[in-house]
Symmetry: none
Amino acid sequence: MVSLEDLKSLAIPAQTKIVLLVLDGLGGLPRPGDGWTELEAARTPNLDKLAAQGNLGLADPVAPGITPGSGPGHLGLFGYDPLQFRIGRGVLEAAGIDLEMTERDLAARGNFCSVDAAGLITDRRAGRISTETCARLAELLEKIRIPGVQLIVRPVREHRFVVLFRGDGLEEGLSETDPQQVGKAPHPVHAELPRAKPAADIANQFVAEAGRVLASEHPANMVLLRGFSKYPRLPKLTDIYGVRAAVIAVYPMYRGLAKLAGMQAVKTGDAVADEFATLESVYGDFDFFFVHVKRTDSAGEDGNFDRKVSIIEEADAQIPRLLALKPDVLVVTGDHSTPAAFKAHSWHPVPVLLFSKWCRPDGASRFTERECRTGGIGHVRAAELMPLVMAHAERLTKFGA
Amino acid sequence: MVSLEDLKSLAIPAQTKIVLLVLDGLGGLPRPGDGWTELEAARTPNLDKLAAQGNLGLADPVAPGITPGSGPGHLGLFGYDPLQFRIGRGVLEAAGIDLEMTERDLAARGNFCSVDAAGLITDRRAGRISTETCARLAELLEKIRIPGVQLIVRPVREHRFVVLFRGDGLEEGLSETDPQQVGKAPHPVHAELPRAKPAADIANQFVAEAGRVLASEHPANMVLLRGFSKYPRLPKLTDIYGVRAAVIAVYPMYRGLAKLAGMQAVKTGDAVADEFATLESVYGDFDFFFVHVKRTDSAGEDGNFDRKVSIIEEADAQIPRLLALKPDVLVVTGDHSTPAAFKAHSWHPVPVLLFSKWCRPDGASRFTERECRTGGIGHVRAAELMPLVMAHAERLTKFGA
């Protein structure tokens, strides 16, 4: 894979515009009977027309056989090798509630839990307290004072919260406090790497203080911390390729992931059509647009083949208004497969459609997994798509003389 | 990618002969109207017959989306990963005038320029002096004496020249002296890496001396140096595979690139037919022949679709006399795409045809980008072709027991 440093050295300014349309969990599996995948069963006249004029391919989000979470799935599409750039769960959780992070932040996922008089856990989820209670307790925790560190504690949902430890020299490499069973005391945090020692000390101080602050609360009288992770130092798309990039996504986590890559979040309505209206309204302000459609994935997770088909068709119906903007490069793909038959994220490669006037057309008749298999892009890693996109946008100069 | 060390350990002696026929810039894009690429529009009955019996594929010269210069394009075909083995501009310029280099050489591209009494540049190209004047001034510069270093200074064309600093301990990592604008003084050379310090000192001595030597010349009274680069230590094809390799190419740069890989340059006439006549005449003397046809690329750069078609046809017409030599492996491909529609090198993958009695035939009807997309070689990196070639030539033994 070409390094981001090399890509940066090849990037040249251009006026071209790029749209990356991600139908979350797009890839599918055949249904019984006709053996069609969701994409095959969907009526997609607009995408099919693009398939005839553009290039198709299959992309492995991480590597063959690897089922990605949403983090690695999107990082790959943004051009980062997900095996090299890893996003911890604490950071992902913070991204998921639209919490602004800085490079000085160490994030952790928190649970409120119940402990008995001996400090042994009786309920790892504190009876799933309401989100309102969670918000009130998070405010209490945020008042904890630890010298040299600023604490940001925010509710997520029910018993779940996020804590950011903001300060200098706070490094990754911390063990979790959750013993994963009742009847045990929370583990102390220990540093798995020498450089993580200061952060471990601070996390332990926080847990001890939390126990005091919550002592009179019931059932949420203690906290468990997991997924300690540092804000990832991703080279931003702006720095690498010189593009002004925007994210149009309904769910905060996808906006959060895109912001890590240097994209600017744009406010949008919930419906698929709303997102395309947003694209139209900000089209003059950016060069690169990541448009995220979530519900294909949700339908796949629910095992609802027909609903996934209808959301694909809903997105297809928006393609003409997208093309009216005359993007120089349009990519339609998924961050991973979520076949309705599998009811979960899967490792299956993701169909990719790349459309630009510089394509050497495949002449495919449809945009389906089957046609993608013999497309001109070939079978690639998702992270290899971004250089291809930038090339078609005439944003990369010649390598070597 | 298999390392060159591994390949070397697998190489075994054989009597087989290999021809690598490179039609420079072969890959194309559709023309308006019938949507045919140059290769599709060309009448290539001989290549098509080979396509039916051999294997087709698509090769990315460097990686998807990366447009290669001629250096990386050819290095890939010779089996070197162009991302690992880099050839600097100074070395390429020296190769381009058939200048013999050694591993002790640090090469730079030079411009004669004009400076005023205060030493500020008034013309970065010294009014594009004649090549004859350039040759005379290069001789003057070559007389400069710097202790411990031999200077080789040769004219290229008009104001451009090459200088080789030949000596021990001269390392890469030097900044350029060209400020890229008039009204400024040439920059001093500085070492971007500590080990490049001795080379920087010598380059600065050279520039200072050049100013003295040229003081009375007009308009070429100063020099600018760029692209400082060390002769690359490429393992030679002879050492890796044990082949005696020859290059048949009209343009010196391609001969120079091939010599870096350990090939021996053979004198040839200019026409395509001349190159094949040369191949016939030296066929007994070598095992591996790199035959380079330049004008497909030139036609592409000129945007001349029809001329590119006719040069492809000219090459096709030579295939029978090539086959009469009974090579054990014949590869026909390009070092990159130069679509007439794009008028420049591009990132599009290059069609590859591999013909040998050991092919599992694709049964393709033609040698075109379209057929190559579904060929048995698949979609590979150009550097992956060489092991495949050597395998078909029965020059690689089993890996592992």
